[in-house]
Symmetry: C2
Subunit: 200 residues, 2 copies
């Protein structure tokens, strides 16, 4: 995808948070950069401070931890979504997990440094503060739902809910990653799938 299309996709994708005037966008877009990830390439790794947040124009990534030498996938992001090792990015602390491309992935990126420059730019500051706030609020709402699911639902209920709200994910992501995401083992997810199939 060419850069103009990527920029356009980005501009459209963030209208749920802020809309930039043409003048503002002209300034804003000078702070952006582009990058791409090959399949299995990492956007962020454990131990390093994450210096970028990115908008995915094409592709998909997974977030995973390593515990006792085992990879445990906690989340996914797809095209038209924002991605970052959020805590590391905003707090400037070493990241504690990995973000890896599941497919060929294209990104529009904002570096931490550029973000700070924009937050100090008289013509952008207020809008950027708001942008940051609304993004954060958006993700809080996602997290709220996710924690609620762990508290109030069984693994089977979480699986059924996921199948309802995002069944396309099963076509796109290996099942054992989804199992981790649901908080269970791949073997257990396979059993749940069989169980729920037989029920209908």
């Amino acid at each position: 995808m060419d850069k103009q299309s990527q920029l356009a996709a980005f501009r459209k994708g963030i209208t749920q948070f802020v809309t930039f005037s043409d003048t503002e966008w002209e300034i804003f877009s000078t702070y952006l950069s582009f990058s791409s990830l090959n399949k299995k390439e990492h956007f962020a790794v454990e131990g390093k401070v994450c210096d970028y947040m990115a908008f995915i124009t094409r592709g998909a990534v997974r977030y995973y931890h390593i515990k006792d030498g085992q990879e445990i996938t906690g989340y996914f992001s797809f095209e038209n979504e924002l991605m970052s090792a959020y805590k590391s990015f905003v707090k400037r602390t070493p990241n504690r997990n990995y973000i890896q491309a599941l497919e060929e992935t294209e990104l529009v990126m904002i570096s931490y440094q550029h973000l700070q420059q924009m937050l100090n730019h008289p013509l952008l500051a207020l809008k950027m503060e708001r942008f940051g706030r609304l993004i954060a609020e958006y993700y809080i709402c996602c997290y709220e739902d996710r924690v609620t699911a762990f508290i109030t639902q069984s693994p089977e209920e979480r699986y059924t809910a996921l199948e309802k709200t995002a069944c396309d994910i099963f076509q796109r992501v290996p099942q054992h990653f989804i199992a981790n995401f649901l908080g269970i083992t791949p073997v257990s997810l396979s059993r749940i799938r069989k169980r729920t199939l037989l029920q209908h």
Copy 2:
């Protein structure tokens, strides 16, 4: 506690996010109000839009859902912490859970309406946007850790971790609420406690 002390506690408590000049604080504090909750009184209930966010100067609350007629406690907040049905408050949607005082609780409150006024107030806007952003970022980090715990740890590991990081919670909150918070049943938590005691 008298209002001046409460205001002082609030001002101090939010220094981790923003520091107000005396002039700013004078304006800011005119938008605040005070309230208190008796034990078991609700700050937020299911189905209603939450109109306030609050700083707890004294006391404690629990957040709970009702599923199949059963209360399931998902979170707690204590003195010197901010509290709100966040998603409902920022999105103006009906709240999906309850927030109830565990003890006599005193609050400094900001109404949604007043917050909007401050966000439009020329002398406060930028700082309030930043305040909102930093609060949201703070809670995202909390949520990140919480979700990671559900993904990577067993119930027993979550219990042990909680005992290490916040063992005082067991003196203050009924154990069956903590069980819910850990994602297990009260019976199971009782067993885990016995098990881990015997191991040492």
